[in-house]
Amino acid sequence: MSEFVLLFRSTPEGQRAAMGTPERAQQSLQTWLAWIRRLETQGHLKSRGQPLDPVGKVVRKGAITDGPYAESKDLVLGFLIVDARDLDEAARLAADCPIAEHGGSVEVRPVGAIAT
């Protein structure tokens, strides 16, 4: 088993669409919780990770800008860490993530192994 980070990305519009009315928001949330519960019961959920606040700064040489909103329409909402056999299996786990329903995406990245 190897560890993979699932990075959840969405757009502000996508988030709004997932929200819609309170009833739709609740349905979206229930779909999410069910998806994560499935990861958990199948033993793939390594760590719950952290949600990220949608504010911050982007720092470059000589410039600090407000972000990430100002920079990017493609926002990282948070991450989870899963256990999977390989990258293919990790990608399969992410395939039915509800974030895709409203134009969001999941970036699947292997946690780099350090040669000892």
Binding site: R16, M19, G20, E23, A25, Q26, Q50
Partner: protein, 418 residues
């Protein structure tokens, strides 16, 4: 961990009411934005971190935090509620005012004020109901449009018209206002219509309709918790809602087919709601007034007292319909009275009572008039006549559930006929 059904809808109504207290009714859209932000946040945080122990409190704390931010940021751009403006002018901290808005008793009163404001007599009843559903019950325009079989654009316009009227008042209705009693009458009427839309309405979505009933009952109970509004008439309204809502689980059978009241499996009736309804009905007798709601609740109680249709005290039901017709005559009441007469005196008498409904042309689009005639013809031993009446009912069926129900009844005539 599971979330309560309709948590977000319910909290949307509560939070918008609380936020309106600090933002002012002119900033209703801002209050709705803040609530939506809090929901967005929940959607980002809860799946990853897990559900909070008290989701409603979490949403409230998030909305409160955001409200303070918004007031600080937009203090010069907007006019907030007078209390907030005063504090801002004196350089004080707004936190205690915002905290107060979210306190239990205050949040309930703000919901009542919002309810009373939505039922402004200048607004048409359909606008009042749309506003109540949108602002207090958290339904979106498209959801309300679907329940009332109205186009989405038309419903959006209706809600916008109502919100414009709300804002133009400048403040929410003051519960100490001299007009309280008059306005209370409008509020009860709107809740009654809301419940009826759920119970008798044309939408085929049984879940949507059960939601309308549940929300009408929730808001009526809120009225009942506020002593000046808890009059015998309010008790009668709550009683009739409870006693009817109790039947909802038996209205469709396990295959999704509508069931007529006489065929309900009454073991599926919600006993807790029946008990609450009966207790409310008893309390509603405290005063000297007898309203149509008292009688409607009493009729429902007569049904609830019987184990099945055969053991129902139909003489009592007929006499209650007589009294109901005397104070609130309507073709639907006359129709139900005729059905009860058919049960008490036999099918021929029921048919005669149906024929005797003077303004029965007003029931031309209501499938259950012809359906009632079909049942009575069938019972009287006239399957051919019954088949024609069910065919006529089918022609005006309003949704797939009604159509399926009437097709089954239509087919039953063929079986009896051969």
């Amino acid at each position: 961990m599971e979330i309560d059904d309709h948590l977000f809808r319910r909290e949307a109504g509560r939070l918008v009411a609380a936020l309106t207290r600090v933002f002012g009714v002119g900033n209703l859209a801002l209050a709705e934005d803040v609530v939506q932000d809090a929901f967005c946040r929940a959607l980002e945080v809860w799946p990853i971190r897990g559900m909070p122990d008290n989701p409603a409190a979490w949403l409230m704390a998030t909305a409160r935090h955001r409200a303070i931010d918004v007031i600080r940021r937009e203090r010069t751009a907007r006019t907030f509620a007078p209390d907030v403006v005063r504090v801002l002018e004196h350089g004080g901290t707004i936190d205690p005012i915002v905290d107060e808005a979210f306190a239990g008793a205050v949040i309930r009163d703000e919901q009542l004020r919002m309810m009373f404001s939505c039922c402004h007599p200048r607004l048409a009843e359909d606008v009042q109901i749309a506003l109540v559903l949108n602002v207090l019950c958290g339904f979106g325009a498209s959801e309300i449009a679907a329940a009332f079989l109205v186009g989405r654009a038309a419903m959006e316009k209706r809600i916008a018209r109502g919100k414009h009227a709300l804002a133009s008042e400048g403040h929410l209705f003051d519960l100490a206002d001299a007009d309280f009693t008059t306005r209370l009458t409008s509020v009860r009427r709107a809740l009654y219509l809301l419940f009826n839309e759920g119970y008798h309405g044309a939408s085929g979505e049984t879940t949507v309709r059960a939601d309308l009933c549940a929300d009408a009952l929730r808001l009526a109970r809120l009225l009942g918790e506020y002593p000046p509004a808890a009059t015998p008439e309010t008790d009668a309204l709550i009683a009739l809602m409870c006693l009817h809502a109790a039947r909802l689980p038996a209205r469709v059978d396990e295959t999704g087919n509508l069931q007529a009241l006489v065929d309900h499996d009454r073991s599926q009736w919600d006993r807790a709601l029946v008990e609450e309804g009966l207790a409310r009905l008893e309390r509603s007798a405290a005063g000297t007034i007898l309203t149509a709601w008292h009688l409607e609740a009493a009729i429902a109680a007569a049904h609830a007292a019987a184990a099945n249709a055969a053991s129902t005290d139909w003489a009592l039901v007929v006499s209650l319909y007589d009294r109901l017709f005397a104070i609130a005559p309507s073709p639907v009441v006359a129709l139900n009275r005729a059905i009860a007469i058919g049960q008490r005196d036999g099918a021929d008498c029921g048919l005669a009572a149906l024929d005797g409904i003077t303004d029965r042309d007003r029931l031309a689009r209501y499938p259950f008039y012809e359906a009632a005639a079909g049942e009575l013809e069938l019972k009287a031993g006239h399957p051919d006549a019954a088949r024609e009446r069910f065919a006529a009912a089918l022609a005006v069926a309003r949704n797939a559930g009604e159509r399926r129900f009437l097709e089954r009844r239509h087919a039953a005539c063929a079986r009896t006929g051969t």
